[in-house]
């Protein structure tokens, strides 16, 4: 229910706005004595929490093997259609897995950092990490392929080793 607030007419001395003005002066003075709240950006970086949703990256397990099985779930759920996957055969000796991505591309200029790909991935192979600042001279520079994605992703030390079955 909306609450109705009675607005009483201002008294004559209130309409002079003297008190309001003095309050304003007090506010300005208070800010004048504070430290600035902005950061010296490129030199000082903001604090980034661990669950920050930066750029999506591909990760490997602790044995250095790629976790992605090219199921393409992330490609399908991506609302911005930023992911392009071309499945290929799994590497030698891992035929029980079936597939691995032959080409895995993420268009960083399309990605909206929603995190749905990370959420949907059955293998926890795609993770949004802390990196957030990129630059390039054209759109193609924002197209990140598999090697770069693994380079940016590194290793995720978790306890599931589906790929380890063949060992």
């Amino acid at each position: 229910m909306a609450k109705l607030v009675e607005r009483r007419p201002l008294k004559a001395w209130e309409r002079l706005n003297i008190l309001a003005f003095l309050k304003g002066m007090r506010t300005t003075l208070r800010w004048l004595l504070k430290r600035p709240i902005t950061l010296e950006y490129p030199e000082a970086r903001p604090y980034i929490p661990d669950n920050y949703r930066g750029t999506p990256t591909l990760v490997k397990d602790i044995y250095g093997r790629e976790k992605c099985v090219a199921c393409q779930l992330c490609e399908h759920i991506c609302p911005a259609k930023a992911i392009r996957i071309t499945p290929g055969p799994a590497p030698e000796g891992f035929s029980h897995i079936g597939r691995a991505p032959a080409i895995f591309q993420i268009d960083r200029s399309r990605c909206i950092h929603c995190g749905l790909c990370e959420e949907v991935c059955p293998e926890e192979a795609i993770v949004l990490q802390k990196e957030y600042s990129f630059s390039g001279t054209d759109r193609n520079a924002m197209m990140i392929d598999k090697e770069e994605l693994y380079e940016a992703g590194g290793t995720l030390p978790d306890k599931y080793f589906k790929w380890g079955k063949s060992e």
């Binding site: 304003g24 002066m25 902005t38």
Partner: protein, 314 residues
């Protein structure tokens, strides 16, 4: 004063005033940044100067920022019409000329204050030149509101000048800035005429000029604005804060000219800080409300205080 000395003196005065203005602008930027919770200019440094001692500190304080700003103005798109150029120059001149007739200090025992040219009607001269400046700024930015506001604030200032010079007249001192300052030897007018001081301050807070140009014209206009702020602070210090007198009740302490100038400068700095403080509290005021307040409240109050003052004198 010999004639051959006049030109260097005038040039020196202009130089001092302009440098003051430029660095006042820098300080205003710093205050504005503080009030808005952000950092101010701290990245400009001079080539080949970077390794020297203190260069980092100077850079951090933004000492070189005004120089960069001024250089930048020359490479921006310039005003093209002659009308604009003439108007901007005229505005700048109206902001500069009043400084020539205003005293800035006095040596103990001297008969003449430190002043470029002491003319009889200096009070009126300043008032008229300021009024003219308002007219020109209206020409520059258009809008009758602005002109009305300028006229009304000068009217306010006119009443204030009348009431302070009345006091000087009673003490049979000349009706100039110098006379008004000398009349405050015992007590400053800010104590005996607080209403007048308030009125004067309100008048000074209200004169402002938006800047529609770019390039050098923009720079001159901005500089003109800063000059007006400086001029306002000088006016207020001379009228109400006892000018170069050190302390109410005490005559000029020490003897030096430097000391008297420092006293006046300190007062001006205080007034300028107050002006900036008000400006960053009320960055935009609605013109109609300003005018309403001026004509319904401040000008009647000014007339009333003038009447009371003159009754008090007799």
């Amino acid at each position: 004063m010999d004639d051959w000395q006049t030109l260097p003196r005038v040039l020196a005065a202009i130089g001092v005033v302009l440098v003051l203005c430029v660095y006042m602008a820098l300080i205003e930027r710093k205050l504005a940044a503080k009030v808005q919770g952000r950092r101010d200019s701290n990245t400009v440094s001079v080539a080949f100067f970077d390794g020297l001692p203190f260069s980092g500190l100077l850079k951090h304080w933004g000492i070189f920022q005004p120089i960069a700003d001024i250089l930048k103005l020359f490479v921006k798109e310039q005003a093209t019409s002659w009308r604009q150029k003439v108007l901007v120059l005229a505005y700048f001149a109206t902001a500069l000329f009043p400084f020539f007739v205003m005293p800035v200090g006095m040596q103990k025992g001297a008969t003449q204050p430190l002043i470029l040219s002491s003319v009889q009607g200096s009070l009126l001269f300043v008032l008229i030149v300021r009024l003219w400046g308002h007219g020109i700024s209206t020409q520059i930015q258009g809008g009758r509101w602005r002109l009305l506001r300028g006229i009304s604030t000068e009217l306010l200032l006119f009443f204030v000048i009348l009431s302070v010079s009345l006091r000087a007249h009673v003490s049979s001192l000349p009706l100039t800035f110098e006379g008004i300052v000398l009349a405050q030897k015992k007590y400053w007018f800010v104590f005996s005429q607080p209403i007048g001081a308030l009125l004067c301050f309100v008048g000074l807070c209200l004169n402002d000029c938006e800047c529609p140009y770019s390039g050098v014209a923009h720079g001159l206009l901005k500089l003109g604005q800063k000059l007006h702020t400086l001029l306002g602070a000088l006016l207020f210090s001379l009228f109400f804060l006892g000018g170069w007198h050190f302390f109410p009740g005490l005559p000029l302490m020490g003897t030096g000219v430097i000391f008297s100038i420092a006293c006046l400068g300190l007062k001006m700095a205080g007034v300028i800080f107050l002006l900036f403080w008000v400006r960053w509290t009320l960055p935009h005021m609605r013109e109609d409300r300003v005018l309403a307040a001026l004509w319904r409240l401040w000008i009647p109050l000014a007339i009333l205080s003038l009447i009371v003052n003159s009754a008090w004198q007799n």
